[in-house]
């Protein structure tokens, strides 16, 4: 394309500012050429049912995730929050119903369409999932090497910018085994945003983090969303952190969406299931005891 070639000339002047300008010009051009969606709903889940190993995870669930907002998907452990991210990413397919991401029906997409849709998504896994045989720099550079024709200098600049944004520019040379849990998650976040995706999914980003790391991650998620207008889906059961940054909240329980609304609506809800989850009551609609035979009978049972 003529305008990309024009930017390439600027880039060949080899001045840092021109390189950065070239990088963003290419990104804007790609967005301009290939994106036309102006829909307010970015992810549309309709009548979704999904079961695994004979156990129903979702039963006729319908939910919508707005574009450019931070949506927190919350619920007790084992309710299927991570599975929802896998369904959105097309790693698992629904038994029935549809998952539409930016107009693409994930279940009916061809392999090529699915991989193209994934290029516009970034995912921060619970463990970070950094590639253990690559340094932090190589991890962040991988998607750029795979999907762009940028030369080494350009890739180096972009990787350093991404690492700078998560505060790990100085750790570029380290291997994942040399990072703390919080640093690994920040490095994984830099990799997830390397291609400036439209959608970033965070799988339990605060789990196992100390208060400082939690604060840093909250700040980063918020900054990314506001600065780049990224649609963010945050799966978490950390109530305070999630509600503090979310624009929209979906609460899941028993394979259903029990509440969908703003953080204020969640806080003011009188639904027993919502109250139990927010206040952390041990017993309630979500039972403390796993289903079992009658206690006295089982104790007296001899055979």
């Amino acid at each position: 394309m003529w305008f990309i070639e024009g930017f390439q000339d600027l880039h060949e002047r080899n001045e840092f500012s021109w390189r950065i300008f070239y990088y963003y010009a290419v990104l804007v051009s790609i967005r301009f050429c290939y994106r036309e969606s102006s829909v307010e709903v970015y992810i549309d889940v309709k009548n979704l049912s999904f079961s695994r190993g004979g156990r129903a995870i979702y039963d006729d669930v319908t939910l919508q995730i707005p574009k450019g907002k931070i949506t927190a998907v919350m619920g007790p452990s084992g309710v299927g929050k991570t599975t929802l991210l896998r369904l959105i990413g097309g790693q698992v397919m629904p038994n029935s119903g549809t998952v539409t991401v930016d107009g693409v029906n994930i279940a009916q997409a061809s392999r090529k369409e699915l991989f193209e849709a994934r290029r516009r998504m970034g995912m921060l896994f619970q463990s970070g999932a950094l590639f253990s045989d690559m340094s932090v720099f190589e991890n962040v550079a991988l998607p750029l090497q795979e999907y762009t024709d940028f030369d080494k200098t350009m890739i180096r600049d972009i990787v350093l910018m991404k690492l700078q944004s998560v505060g790990l520019r100085g750790a570029a040379h380290l291997m994942p085994s040399e990072l703390s849990g919080g640093m690994a998650r920040r490095a994984a976040l830099a990799r997830a945003i390397a291609l400036d995706p439209d959608l970033v999914m965070y799988d339990e980003p605060f789990a196992g983090q100390d208060p400082i790391s939690k604060g840093v991650l909250v700040e980063l998620i918020q900054r990314l969303n506001r600065a780049a207008n990224i649609t963010s889906v945050l799966v978490s059961h950390d109530v305070e952190e999630s509600l503090s940054i979310a624009d929209h909240v979906c609460l899941l329980s028993g394979g259903k969406v029990i509440l969908s609304g703003t953080p204020e609506e969640v806080r003011s809800s009188t639904d027993e299931r919502v109250v139990q989850f927010l206040q952390g009551h041990a017993d309630g609609p979500v039972a403390f005891h796993y289903p079992a035979p009658e206690y006295r009978e089982q104790l007296l049972e001899r055979n």
Binding site: R86, G89, Q91, F115, E116, R118, R119, M121, G122, M123, F125, Q126, S127, A129, L130, F131, S132, L142, P143, Q145, E146, Y147
Partner: protein
């Protein structure tokens, strides 16, 4: 009735997993790389990890097996006064049978188990999912270089094993037991043929390589992503790989040398 039902379920499960692993092998080998430079770099890295790092165990085992064969061969042949044929015995045994088979067994134990554990751990730490979510095909990026490296390295390792075994057997029989060096090499030269003996050995090790590496990467890819699951998959790789080598060896030997 229950026994018959279980038997059918077992046979059905075996055929199903054979079909799935066949599709897995086909997809891994025939999905062309997008960037050839990167694919070659990944392949070379795996050649180092699968092939070069297996050299020590192959060389040491080859040397000891060659020395033992020379001792055993000499003690039997000397009672017929034909100890000069120890060179022929060593070369034919190593090139036709022991080279490919023992290399395959050692390869399954050393490189096969390492491949399964590595891929299983990548699955457990969500690295394979991470490739998928980036839109990078893990079969192309992770599995194909390992498969190709294993398949190309094992025939070379088998040849190195046989060469070291013959050299070590020569040291024992000529330098220690006093067999005349000229007759040691002459008997070998007269009885070993490139197209029947050396080529058949290479074909055998190539077939064993496909079986072992296929089993290793598939077991890693489909294992339960837990410490117990990875342990079980690693054990299955070694057991199934070893049995596959021995079974295939019988079939290939019957096909290659069974024209009696």
């Amino acid at each position: 009735m229950g026994l018959v039902k279980n038997l059918f379920a077992g046979v059905y499960g075996f055929i199903e997993s054979l079909g799935q692993s066949g599709i897995f092998l086909f997809q891994s080998l025939f999905r062309l790389p997008i960037r050839w430079g990167e694919a070659i770099r990944l392949y070379v890295r795996q050649v180092y990890s699968v092939g070069v790092l297996s050299l020590i165990i192959i060389i040491v085992s080859g040397a000891f097996i060659g020395m033992v064969l020379a001792l055993q061969g000499y003690s039997i042949l000397t009672s017929y006064g034909s100890e000069s044929a120890v060179g022929q015995l060593l070369a034919l045994t190593l090139l036709r049978e022991l080279g490919p088979v023992v290399t395959g067994l050692l390869f399954a134990g050393r490189a096969g188990s390492a491949l399964t554990a590595e891929i299983g751990l990548m699955k457990a730490t969500e690295q394979l999912s991470s490739y998928e979510m980036m839109g990078i095909d893990p079969l192309r990026r992770v599995i194909a270089p390992r498969l190709l490296a294993g398949i190309t390295c094992m025939p070379i390792l088998a040849l190195i094993f046989s060469a070291v075994g013959i050299w070590a057997g020569m040291m024992v029989s000529v330098n220690w037991l006093g067999v005349y060096e000229g007759s040691f090499w002459a008997s070998m030269q007269q009885s070993v043929f490139f197209d029947t003996d050396i080529m058949n050995g290479i074909i055998k090790s190539f077939v064993f390589a496909i079986a072992v590496v296929w089993i290793a990467v598939y077991q890693g890819y489909v294992c339960q992503p837990t410490s117990e699951g990875i342990g079980r998959a690693t054990t299955r790789t070694v057991v199934m790989g070893s049995l596959a080598i021995l079974g295939l060896d019988f079939l290939l030997t019957a096909a290659m040398f069974g024209d009696f």
